[in-house]
Every structure is written in C-alpha cells, then in structure tokens.
C-alpha cells in the first residue's frame, strides 16, 4: 500500500455552517505529513471524519484502503490518535489510562510504555484531574506511541508541551518514521512542521490550497535575494519575475533586495554580475511566508520578514 489516506472533495456541513468545502488530502504510507491551517480551517473536522466519528456530507475518503465510517472498528486496530484537547477520566491515574487505551487497541508494548514514560518525565501514579494540560497531552502521546499502530493521527500534539518535551516529541516522531510508521501531524506551529514533515497540506476555510513536498513548495515560491553591488545595476525593474525591488545607493555602490521567481533567478544573477557583486545572500521562502501567502493574500509573499 503506497497511500495511507486519500480524501477527495470532502464536504461536511453542520446546519448552515460549511466546515469542509471540497477538501483534498493525500498521505503516502511511511511519510510524516504536516496538516497545516489556522484555527477553524477544518483540520479537526477532517481528522474526526478520518476516525469515523463524523460522516462526510459528500466526497470520497479512504483510510488504509478502507472506508473510515463503515470499517471504523477494524481500522482503529491499525491507528492511534492523540486529540488536540486531551480530556481524561479525572479519577483514573495516567498509568491506568495508558494501559486501558493500549488494551482497548489490542495490547501495547510494556517496555516501550515504560521507556516513553521516563523519556517524557511523566508520573503515572497521579490522578488525571491533577495533571496540567501538557501532562494530559503526554498521557495521550505515550499511549499512542507505545502502540504498534501503523498510522498515528496527531491533532496539534505539542500545544501544551514545554520546549524540552517538544524536542523529545520531535525525536520520537523521527524514530517512528524510521520504523516505517505513517504520521498525520496537524499543527499550526510552522517550525515544528518544517523540521518534522516530509510533505505538507495547507488548508484554508475547508479547502486544501497547497499540498506538496516542502522543497517543491519552496521552488514554486519566490526566493529572497539581497546583494551588495559595486555599481548601481541597470534595468533590474524591467527584468521579468522580479518583485518588491529595493535599490539603495551607497557611498561605494548599491544595496539591492528583491524577490524573484525561481525560473528567473538566472537573469537576475547575470544582471548582478554585470554590476559587480561584492556580497550575495539568498534564502528560500520560509514555511511561514508560504503559509501567510495563503492566508493573507493582500500581503505580498515574504512581507512578514
């Protein structure tokens, strides 16, 4: 199986609210897939459809090759889920909850459970009502990671973790990828997605607006270039594919910053060379810029920096 999740034209309405409006999602087996979008974009609704808790109003969805609504129980043997807002039974201890969820899923690895508990520094003897948000999140994470499920569905799993635990989480996800597990990671923490994910899908108002590998995404966007030149360059503003051009004349030359479409980078560099390059820096657009480009379309790409 090469595709773990396929959703096409997914629509979900709640009364007059249209939470999903033709959402597409494709997650390949064995990849860590970032599911990006701001609050209310439809990430959690999509995940709840994937879990068979909600039924899609329209559209097609397959999870591990099966229908998540009709085959929910069978599919749940093969996946583990960490909700975004973890609520636990207040009178049970964290250890009890981890064991219970593991057994309901058909058994978990005891050694791995204990290893994860010490890695995440979680005290399993405490009652769940005394846990902080981060600790509740750890309970759900340990329960999911200790299972042998082939698909992990994680809904904003680090939203309550401290930076140390966030790093630990990142390492754990790296190991899961190495073990061949598929991970769907919903998040709006861009740096996290940037370091952990192979591919990302960006959703906005219930639709997928972008879905690709990170390098492809970057290639499709303008690179930011800044250079110090020996002489003021001529004709830059007439070059195709150059945007947001700023030229400042200095005592001994000129400082130029601009954004350029990937296919026109060549022409720009030639123009720079003609003017004499003293220093040159270029960086690909950050995920944040890509993200903002989709969400604040009135703002030019890169304007956040």
């Amino acid at each position: 199986m090469s595709t773990a999740i396929v959703a096409r034209g997914l629509v979900k309405t709640f009364g007059s609210t249209r939470a999903l409006d033709g959402l597409d999602l494709e997650v390949h087996a064995g990849e860590v897939h970032g599911f990006l979008g701001p609050n209310g974009a439809g990430k959690t609704t999509t995940i709840r459809i994937l879990l068979g808790l909600l039924r899609a109003t329209a559209g097609e969805v397959r999870l591990l090759g099966r229908d998540p609504w009709a085959d929910a129980t069978a599919l749940h043997r093969r996946l583990a889920y960490v909700p975004g807002d973890v609520t636990l039974w207040p009178t049970l201890t964290g250890g009890e909850v981890i064991d219970l969820l593991g057994r309901l899923r058909g058994g978990a690895d005891r050694g791995r459970r204990d290893e994860l508990l010490s890695r995440f520094e979680l005290d399993p003897t405490k009652r769940c009502r005394t846990y902080s948000k981060g600790n509740r999140q750890k309970v759900a994470l340990v329960a999911a990671l200790a299972s042998d499920a082939e698909l992990l569905v994680l809904d904003e799993p680090t939203s309550g973790l401290d930076p140390l635990m966030e790093a630990e989480f990142g390492a754990a996800i790296g190991e899961e990828r190495a073990r061949g597990r598929t991970v769907l990671l919903s998040s709006h923490i861009l740096s996290e997605v940037e370091t952990l994910c192979d591919r990302v899908s960006i959703v906005r108002a219930g639709r997928t607006v972008e879905s690709a590998r990170l390098p492809e995404l970057r290639r499709a966007r303008r690179t930011v270039v800044s250079a110090e030149l020996a002489t003021p360059p001529a004709g830059l503003d007439s070059l195709p594919g150059v945007h947001d051009l700023e030229i400042a004349t200095t005592a001994d030359g000129a400082a130029v910053t601009c954004r350029v479409d990937a296919e026109h980078l060549d022409d720009l560099l030639r123009a720079f060379a003609a003017a004499g390059v003293r220093s040159l820096a270029s960086r690909p657009p950050s995920l944040e810029e890509l993200f903002l480009a989709h969400y604040r379309q009135d703002v030019p790409v890169g304007a956040a920096r």
């Binding site: 808790l53 207040p90 899923r105 399993p124």
Partner: protein, 534 residues
C-alpha cells in the same frame, strides 16, 4: 512568627475577602437566568396548584376529614409526609407539599451551589476569574446570595399565590418560609460539600447523601412517632404547622442549622488552596488492574464508588424503615388500617407499607439510573467518548457498557433497599421481591434516555427529565383523583403498583415493561451508530 501574625495570614481582611461578589452574582444570573427563573416559578406554582387540586378532589369537609383519617394510619404517607395537622384545604395543601418541596428544593439548591463553586474550580474558570480583583470568600458568597434571593422569591410568590387562592395569610407565609428555609439549609449543606470534596460529582454526592439521611431520619421518626423527627429539616418543615396553628419558633431551628454550615463553609474556603479539597487526591496505581480492558470495566471503575455508596445508603434506609415498622407492628393493626389495606389488596400491614413507600423510593432509584445513563452525553461532549471510540471499540459496545453499569446500579440498589427493610423488619428476603419488582419500571426510563440519546442527543437530558417529572406529577394528581385511570396507566410505576396491589398479572406487566426497555435501548443504539458524534 507569633500566633497573631499567623492568624492574620490565614483569615483574609473582611472587605477584601468579599471583593468582586457583586460581579460574580451578575455572572451567575447571566449564565443561569433561564434555569433560575424556571426554578422559582415552578416551585412557587406547585403549592398554589395544589390548592385547587385539594378543593376539587375533596370538596366537602367530610371528604377531607375522611382523607386525613386514612392518611393518619397509613405508614407510607406518614413516612414521606408526616402527620396531617388540620383537615382543611390549607392543612392538606401544606401536608402534601411541604416535604416534597423541601426534597426537590434541596436537590436544586445543592446542585446550584456546587455548580457555582466547586464546578467552577474544577473547570479552571475560578482561576481565570480569581486572578482579577476577587476576594477569597467571593465565589461562595455570590452563590449563596443568588440562592438566598431565589428562595426568598419563592417564599414571597408562594405566600402571594396561597393568599390569592383564598387561604389565611399567616399559613401562606409559614408554608412559603418553610419551603424557602428547607432550600437554604440544603444550599448550606452543598456549600460545605463543595469545600470538602475535590470533584463536582463527589460534592453533589455528599450533598445528596446528607439529604437522603435526613429524609430517612424523618421517615423513621414519623412512623415510630419518636423524637427522631426533630433531627431532620423534613420534620421541621411539617412541624411549622402551616394553616394549623403556625409554630414560628421552628424557624429558629432552620436558622441555626443553616448558619452553622454556612460559617463552616466560609472558614474552610479560606483555609484551603484553590482547586484543592479537604479530601485530597492520593497517588494511585501506576498500571491498570488486569481487568480494566473493556468499556464496561472502565464505566464500572469510574462509577463503582458511587454505586457502592448509593447501595449502602439505600440498604441503611431500608433497615431504618424496616426497624421502624417492626417497632409499631401492633399499633398498625387497627380497624381503620385494616379498612385501608382492604381497599389496597390487603395482606400483611408491613407488606402494604413497603408497597407504597417503595413506590416513592423506586422513583428516586430511577433518577440515579437516568443520571448514570445520561453520563454518556457528558462524555461525548467532553471528549472522553472520542478517546474510547478512536480505539477498536464499536459505539454499541461502549454504550452498552454504560447502560449495563446503570442497570446494575438500579437493580443492586433496589435489592439493597429490600434486603435492609426485610432484615430490619425481621423477614429477610421477603421484601426484596417487592423492591425488585420496580426494576423494570426504573429501567424503562433508562431505556427512554438511551433512545433519545441515540437520535436526539442534545434533547436527551432535558426531554428525559421532563418526561420523568411529568410522570411524578401524574402520581401527585392521581392521588386527588383528578386523572383518569387510563392516563394514570401511562406511568410504569402505576403499572407495577397495580398488579402488586391486586396480586395478579405482575409477571406479565414486568415482562412487557422489560421488553419495552430493551427495545428502547436497541432503538437508541441504532441511532447512535448512524449519527455524528459531537
């Protein structure tokens, strides 16, 4: 550090301690304005409505005197309502409503106070509010202010309604105040429970347990005609003697018994950490017990404490009632009582007594079953259902776990009640059959709750409780002969009591009700499998 300094640190300065009370009162009123309004109006309408029921059911003085004579020798009426002090329209109205209103008002007041104190802390909202300018005493003070105003409004409206119905003003004031005083006393009980327990459920449980024990004390005291009645606000609410030579001094007992727990609650609230209770949570097991591996095991693990405490309470209540019956066995065997039992199917006086008092208690057991079944909705909206249903557990299996535990609570509770009563009376096991006969009626309501939960989850709780309330109201109306037999027959409790009284057709009735209950559960499960989870 001197003692004076330490004391100063513990007890906050007065004006600062109450800062923000007014804002919190407004917040409570804003959040609960509909429920508070309904509570006041319904509680106020009940006594006035009863006046016309008494007038229609017992139009002449002779009718009323005959009814009072019957009630005086019926231990079930004595246990739940106490003696009739005057066979007048006012006297009978007060007799009918005083205990029920205190019981109902007690439940509402406990729920309200806990909801605005402990529940707020548990949800973490208290911290958000408390970070503003808010005194340590303010949350409790605000909750008590709201319920005090509510209870006083009820007292005023009850008085106005009764006077408008043509009854003497003094009696109207006395009955209105008795209902309000009973409510306030249990608000104070709820306030202490909210300080002692760390969880909302436990706080409500403590409050209801106190309510149950005080009701049982009064019941035992009335039946055995002993001083025990003076230990319970239920006894006091009757001995205010509204419309029968009002005893105003009894309100002193209410005042004292309310002031002590209120002061205790304030002192406790200033001495503990926000979020903590006096009964601190202890560390628990690091691993789950071997058996905790299914939804039913999970529900049992969560609810077993409540069910065991509840069963112990019902058994104790049974013991008290049984012992009280045993102590007055001979006094019961009067011509008047034989007359009464003759029309009710006859038999051993104790059996008749249990038949009737169980009729009332079965309704209480039903409420427990309903609350347990409806926990499903809370788990669904709270996200706890997701955690289980994202594992390979079918929805039906999850719901059946909850229903099975609720049914167990109902059956075990009824059995404990019957066993206690039997042991107390000296005939173990004999009464248990009668108590268990009510199980299908109780479970039918649980089935209704499941059916509604499956198809109309948002309406399930309000609709189920409304139907349950209407059936209880039907019984009250039925007592005054205002409802037709065919209408009364809609009540599963009447369907059980009838065959029990006549002595035949019981098995068939129980079978039919059981089948309906099972069918309702099946309908609910089918709906649950089809719908979205919130």
């Amino acid at each position: 550090m001197t003692a004076a300094v330490a004391r100063h640190a513990i007890v906050p300065r007065r004006e600062a301690a109450f800062a923000g009370t007014r804002e919190l009162v407004r917040l409570i009123v804003r959040r609960d304005r509909v429920a508070l309004g309904l509570w006041v109006i319904l509680m106020a309408a009940l006594p006035t409505g009863l006046v016309s029921a008494v007038e229609q059911g017992y139009p002449t003085e002779a009718d009323r005197v005959a009814f009072a004579a019957g009630a005086a020798v019926n231990p079930a009426e004595l246990a739940t309502r106490g003696p009739v002090f005057a066979a007048t329209v006012g006297g009978l109205t007060a007799w009918t409503i005083a205990s029920s209103a205190v019981l109902l008002g007690g439940v509402v007041n406990i729920l309200l106070v806990v909801r605005h104190t402990r529940a707020e802390e548990q949800a973490g909202r208290r911290e958000l509010v408390g970070a503003g300018v808010l005194g340590r005493y303010a949350p409790l003070a605000a909750a008590l202010v709201v319920v005090t105003v509510g209870n006083l409004a009820i007292a005023a409206l009850v008085t106005a309604g009764l006077v408008a119905a043509g009854l003497p003003a003094a009696g109207g004031v006395a009955l209105g105040l008795a209902i309000a005083a009973g409510g306030l006393l249990f608000a104070a009980v709820g306030a202490v429970a909210a300080q002692v327990a760390e969880g909302t459920g436990a706080a409500n449980g403590i409050g209801f347990a106190v309510l149950g024990v005080l009701f049982a004390l009064a019941a035992a005291g009335e039946v055995s005609r002993s001083w025990l009645v003076w230990l319970s606000p239920f006894g006091w609410s009757r001995r205010v003697q509204a419309f029968a030579g009002e005893q105003w001094a009894v309100f002193g007992l209410f005042a004292l018994a309310t002031a002590v727990p209120v002061v205790a609650a304030f002192v406790l609230s200033a001495r503990r950490d926000v979020g903590a209770g006096l009964l601190a949570a202890r560390p628990g097991p690091a691993t789950a017990a071997r058996g905790l591996r299914s939804p039913i095991a999970l529900t049992w693990r969560l609810d077993r404490g409540g069910i065991l405490a509840w069963t112990a309470g019902l058994t104790l209540l049974g013991l008290l009632l049984g012992a009280a019956m045993a102590s007055i066995g001979d006094q019961l065997d009067t011509a008047a009582f034989r007359d009464l039992t003759g029309t009710l199917g006859g038999g051993d006086p104790a059996e008749v007594f249990f038949r009737f008092i169980l009729y009332v208690l079965a309704q209480v057991v039903t409420a427990f079953g309903l609350a347990t079944v409806l926990e499903m909705r809370g788990q669904e909206t709270g996200g706890l259902a997701d955690a289980v249903l994202a594992t390979p557990v079918r929805r039906a299996r999850w719901a059946i776990g909850q229903v099975a535990v609720a049914a167990t609570g109902v059956v075990v509770g009824l059995a404990g009640l019957g066993l206690g009563a039997g042991v107390g009376y000296g005939t173990p096991l004999a009464v248990m059959g009668t108590t268990l006969a009510y199980a299908p009626a109780c479970l039918l309501f649980a089935g209704l709750a499941v059916a509604l939960y499956g198809w109309a989850p948002r309406l399930a709780a309000p609709l189920t409780w409304t139907v349950f309330g209407l059936v209880l109201l039907l019984d009250l109306v039925g007592e005054f002969g205002l409802a037709d037999a065919s209408v009364l027959g809609l009540s599963p409790f009447v369907r059980t009591l009838g065959p029990l009284t006549v002595g035949s057709g019981l098995a068939g009735a129980l079978l039919v009700m059981s089948l309906i209950a099972v069918a309702l559960v099946a309908v609910g499960l089918a709906g649950l499998a089809r719908r979205d989870l919130d």
